[in-house]
Symmetry: C2
Subunit: 394 residues, 2 copies
């Protein structure tokens, strides 16, 4: 059970993330698709099958609720197109399903489009409704994503005796990286004072510790390694793709975990490392894009993904080990904190970043000696996690 060396990425594209009021859902999909197609150097007729990643079609006038939302703007009729949703792991899961189609011989060339239009609709449309409906005695009282992740941070602070500093340092690091990324939602660095003193969203998470609500689209084109090799030199190999669904923190977190990390991430990591044949993630992964929806999330991701020992995540950022020049750079793109988070696009955007870094084309944010990269998505109430490991073929 493995995708290792069975799938290659030959084209990636990404729009600028942000408040794209001048671009609608379809415009953004067309833009990232066009960039990916030019990169891949194939024709639309070559695409045998496609997957669409849009997490919340109900938020934006139901665009993205079936394969038709991809077929129409891209004129990709007459072939299979599947729409996948899996909370914030939607993008990566679409890539995973496409990869299995290629690996099973059911598509020579598969296209994955991730897109989410979030800025033209009221934020109360549906995300809140989903949280409220759970019936959990605490969470059901209108708790939002910041509120729920805030509780994770307070527990972490109490358990390990740290203050807000290391979490604020995640924000500083990622905004600094994002200021080097022309496609990031935010283009400016922030100081630690600015983060600590910013308006409080849900204590202890301030405004600069929460991913913004963004519009955006990212695309990828995959094929078999054999075909990739015949087409171009700068293709990238899939070493592993995993997805794990676990209980998350609601409604029964107490039964399943200590609320100091996410079992879904832990499982997805273990599955991916096994598939890729990685024994020591810290030494064998050169850089990572991880799901930093909130600063605390990045810290527990370090631990859940075995970049450091449990309880040492705060040190991992505090000591600069995850910085762009550190021993294991995390979120060179700026992560969700700075790049933004158009939900269905995010996982595909991470693949775009990995491919760009592995090709050595990341410009000012380039990670040195990037040969093996990891991408990680975490979704829903911490219940869905996906991990991809990509590498240069040489």
């Amino acid at each position: 059970m493995s995708l290792k060396d069975k799938v290659a990425i030959i084209g990636v594209g990404c729009t600028k993330f942000g408040e794209n009021f001048n671009l609608d859902y379809k415009d953004m999909l067309v833009d990232s698709y066009t960039e990916a197609m030019e990169d891949a150097g194939i024709e639309p007729k070559d695409i045998d099958a496609a997957w669409l990643a849009t997490a919340f079609p109900d938020m934006a006038h139901f665009e993205g609720n079936s394969g038709s939302s991809l077929a129409e703007p891209l004129n990709l009729y007459g072939r299979p197109i599947t729409h996948v949703t899996n909370y914030c792991a939607t993008g990566m899961d679409a890539v995973r399903n496409a990869a299995m189609a290629v690996a099973s011989g059911n598509a020579r060339f598969a296209y994955i489009g991730g897109v989410e239009k979030m800025r033209d609709v009221g934020p109360r449309e549906s995300l809140i409704a989903q949280v409220v409906k759970t019936g959990h005695p605490v969470v059901g009282k209108g708790a939002t994503a910041p509120g729920m992740f805030a509780m994770l941070e307070t527990r972490y602070m109490a358990k390990y005796g740290v203050d807000r500093t290391p979490f604020a340092e995640v924000s500083v690091k990622n905004h600094a990286n994002g200021s080097l990324n022309p496609k990031a939602h935010f283009g400016r660095p922030v100081t630690i004072e600015a983060v600590l003193n910013a308006p409080m969203i849900a204590y202890p998470l301030s405004l600069y510790e929460c991913t913004p609500v963004s519009d955006g689209s990212a695309s990828a084109i995959i094929t078999t390694p054999e075909i990739a090799k015949s087409l171009k030199k700068d293709y990238i190999l899939v070493k592993a793709m995993s997805l794990s669904i676990d209980a998350g923190y609601t409604p029964q977190f107490d039964k399943y975990n200590e609320f100091l990390g996410f079992k879904a991430t832990q499982n997805a990591g273990v599955m991916a490392y096994k598939e890729a044949g990685i024994k020591n993630p810290h030494d064998e992964i050169d850089f990572a894009e991880v799901h930093d929806c909130f600063t605390i999330t990045e810290v527990v991701n370090y631990e859940d993904l075995q970049f450091c020992r449990r309880g040492d995540g705060w040190k991992f950022v505090h000591e600069g080990r995850s910085s762009l020049q550190g021993e294991l750079p995390v979120n060179p793109s700026g992560g969700l904190q700075s790049s933004g988070h158009p939900i269905g696009a995010t996982g595909v955007r991470m693949v775009y970043e990995l491919v760009t870094q592995l090709r050595g084309k990341a410009g000012k944010r380039q990670v040195k000696n990037a040969r093996v990269g990891l991408a990680h998505n975490l979704g829903g109430p911490g219940s869905v996690a996906s991990v991809a490991i990509l590498a240069r073929p040489d």
Copy 2:
């Protein structure tokens, strides 16, 4: 590019479809899952991966919007679960994605759960909103699914010079078949007079020519043919699974088709026949479950799927050729007309029916000499179609 003989179905389950006010979304999923697991004879720990088919999570309090909605009620944590939506072809597309995972060696046993809870919510919640948003100058004026398919029927009547009779005969046939199916939403036959004189929903479609809005769930468990053979005798082989996205009838139907059938169905049929190696569908398919959301749909399906020549669909039912005792029985289950149509469940329910018929276990509605069966889903504004061809291994 083929799934032929690479995937086997070893377990199926289905709830009664209907107004299941006593069962919630999760209850129904548990029921169909339990039946399918007992049929397959495997343990929950054996399931490597799962796919969830729910077309409109926004209609029922967002249940079914990620793999978590399957993991929680079935306690299937720690493995990948993908949520697929593709309008009314959602169920079949979930099976197709699962089949590619098995064929690619990424799952030994895969579970597919289709479920939709539609009776506890107002029907104006979202389906209407989706139609209205298209911006089409005619369709946008509040046209609903019955209204749109009604226009297909009036065009068909004008083109071929037929009255409402053959369409009413589809309803009579399917309700008669459904009266023999203990899991159908409706359990009673209807007369042709009742159909023709029933309240008009959208001329020329009367109440008894429209699929009802139903609750329900259906499940399937698949594996490789080698494993299936080692486990049991009555496994069923996948001969083909196709999906095609085409323009449908809105907003640009005039550019793409004559509005006398659906290009998506035609393409999906051609793709599936090629994959299965079928040259003459009429002679090589023993029976079919096709998407009869409205009576006119079944008639054009006959033509689109090459059961008869273009323009002869109305004769195909009128002459009894698609009846339970006819030359190519269509919708022995009662179809959507009588079985009902909990959207995400329907495609999986068709797989359940095919497997049940191919095993010779369909009781009073058993098709004679059922060795090769076809299932067909049509979704959205006629833009998404899926075809599965299943057969006995012997």
